[in-house]
Symmetry: C2
Subunit: 132 residues, 2 copies
Amino acid sequence: MHKEHALTKNQQIIFDLIDKSPEPMKAYSILFNVQKKGIKAPLQVYRALDKLVQIGKIHKIESRNAFIACHNSSCQVAKATAFSICEICEKVTEISSAGLSKYLANFKDKDGMKYSKYNLEFFGLCKKCTLK
Amino acid sequence: MHKEHALTKNQQIIFDLIDKSPEPMKAYSILFNVQKKGIKAPLQVYRALDKLVQIGKIHKIESRNAFIACHNSSCQVAKATAFSICEICEKVTEISSAGLSKYLANFKDKDGMKYSKYNLEFFGLCKKCTLK
DNA sequence: TAACATTGTGTAATAATATAACATTAACAT
DNA sequence: ATGTTAATGTTATATTATTACACAATGTTA
Ligand SMILES: [Zn+2]
Ligand SMILES: [Zn+2]
Ligand SMILES: [Zn+2]
Ligand SMILES: [Zn+2]
């Protein structure tokens, strides 16, 4: 049997933490939360994060230096991500839109270049904050 | 007469440096380069950068923590940016495509939310690196 | 199995990126 | 001139991320 991506102990601990979190987590907040499980150093966290990003289990929200679990199985193949970020409450939601991903995957720049990999961050107000 | 956005001395020094640079510049590299002009502390650089980003004269490449001058006058109004980034040589190009900006500005998520502000980073190989 | 290569781990030190706090000054509008 | 806002200068500190090195676990191939 071919295990797709069996996570190591550290990777699993850190993935579980991020996956349970309702909001993106920062590396040092992750570190603080897993110290009781024996992960003591920043590098141990960053190594697990790198791997998890690489295999598509989590994404990095670049503008926030934070990490969120992927809930969109298609991302695990294409490294093409899109998020909406609320500028007031910082709520982050992964956007899963076939139309959008199709448009961006097929987008050609001036030189005719296509890009299968991209990261898109939309900023605005979430529903809750719009009503306030 | 109403000056739109007259830059202050520090802002001008830092903008000129970034504008002349063929590649995105990082904050501490900027700091190093302007020390001879009397800008001695990180905060002086970050304050100018914040302002320049805010008024649309430069953009931050979030995935690289670097800053690039805007060469697309329309960005100065809408905080809506798109870049292509070469994964080998790190060349960054601002994409100016009416079609793309229209598509993204009109994009609605599941909840019908629109986002006038966004940042898009495409990753791939530039022309040069494709040929190698 | 044995040998090798690849990947992950643990630990310490350090680099790179960014902000807080405070006092002061310049620019601008009543 | 007075009050207000924005910018500055300076010091210290917080936050984010990597380098370097020794070692262990895992997987592949002979
Ligand atoms: Zn995803
Ligand atoms: Zn919100
Ligand atoms: Zn621009
Ligand atoms: Zn290139």
